[in-house]
């Protein structure tokens, strides 16, 4: 817990929030606002990214496993990018509008796809790193 860590979280959070606002706006305008596809796209892509980063921290180590990079990228950028609050707001609004089935679909799809995409990102990076010989990695990610 240092001032530098706080500053990195602020910067990452700013960028993550702006990216989310941009992407959810683009998707919402593209496919319509009835179902919150924009928030789903943000959360699923953020899940893929955090999984890939966790995979890199584990199999490559080095800067991917450093605390400050983690504060900037994982806590700030990915944390600020993805959102549970908009997901809840939009799910409840679907329910209040009488679209109970869409609301339930949003909950199940968001939870299942996000965990699935974390796994995809994680295993993709671990697999790529383990099948390339030029990387000198550490299995624990603690040192590298």
């Amino acid at each position: 817990m240092t001032l530098a860590a706080c500053a990195l979280v602020l910067i990452g959070g700013f960028l993550g929030g702006v990216c989310r606002f941009f992407l959810s706006g683009v998707v919402g305008r593209g496919v319509g606002e009835t179902f919150p596809w924009g928030t789903l796209a943000v959360n699923v892509s953020g899940a893929l990214a955090i999984g890939a980063f966790a995979g890199a921290a584990r199999s490559v180590g080095g800067i991917f496993a450093s605390d400050l990079v983690r504060d900037l990228v994982v806590v700030g950028l990915f944390g600020g990018y993805t959102t549970v609050s908009s997901f809840c707001l939009q799910t409840l609004n679907l329910g209040l509008d009488g679209e109970g089935r869409l609301a339930a679909f949003n909950v199940v799809a968001s939870a299942a796809l996000c965990v699935l995409f974390v796994a995809l990102g994680f295993w993709a990076v671990v697999w790529v790193v383990s099948s390339t010989t030029w990387v000198v990695g550490s299995a624990t990610g603690a040192a590298g």
């Binding site: 990915f78 959102t83 908009s86 974390v118």
Partner: protein, 133 residues
Amino acid sequence: MRLYLAVGCGAAVGSLTRFLSGYVIVSLLGLNALWSTAFVNVVGSWVIMAFATLTGPDGRLMVSQAARNFVMAGFCGGLTTFSAMSLDTFLLLFQGDWPLAATYLISVVGLSLAAAWLGYLMASRLNRLPVER
């Protein structure tokens, strides 16, 4: 442009709040990191729904579009995190603890939705109170 700045600044403040509350919950209170993610998601969901209802068409608070985006898409969006929750769930599955993974994911999503619903009910009630003169 103004809206992007409002969202970005709100998300920066929200993310820092999440980071600091994680420090308090994990390092000072000594609880598992799962609690800190659960805490920010539940609180952020309550705030966004209460604020949305208070500042909506039938709400009693009048705020600008930029202020609304600062609080909702910005602060609440930055405070809550779907990615950390998904990663925590995956890591529990990875360790083979699927009962805790399922309990964690279902209860955090369920409690966040319940908190949002509570925020909606509380704010609707406030909206209906007679205006004092």
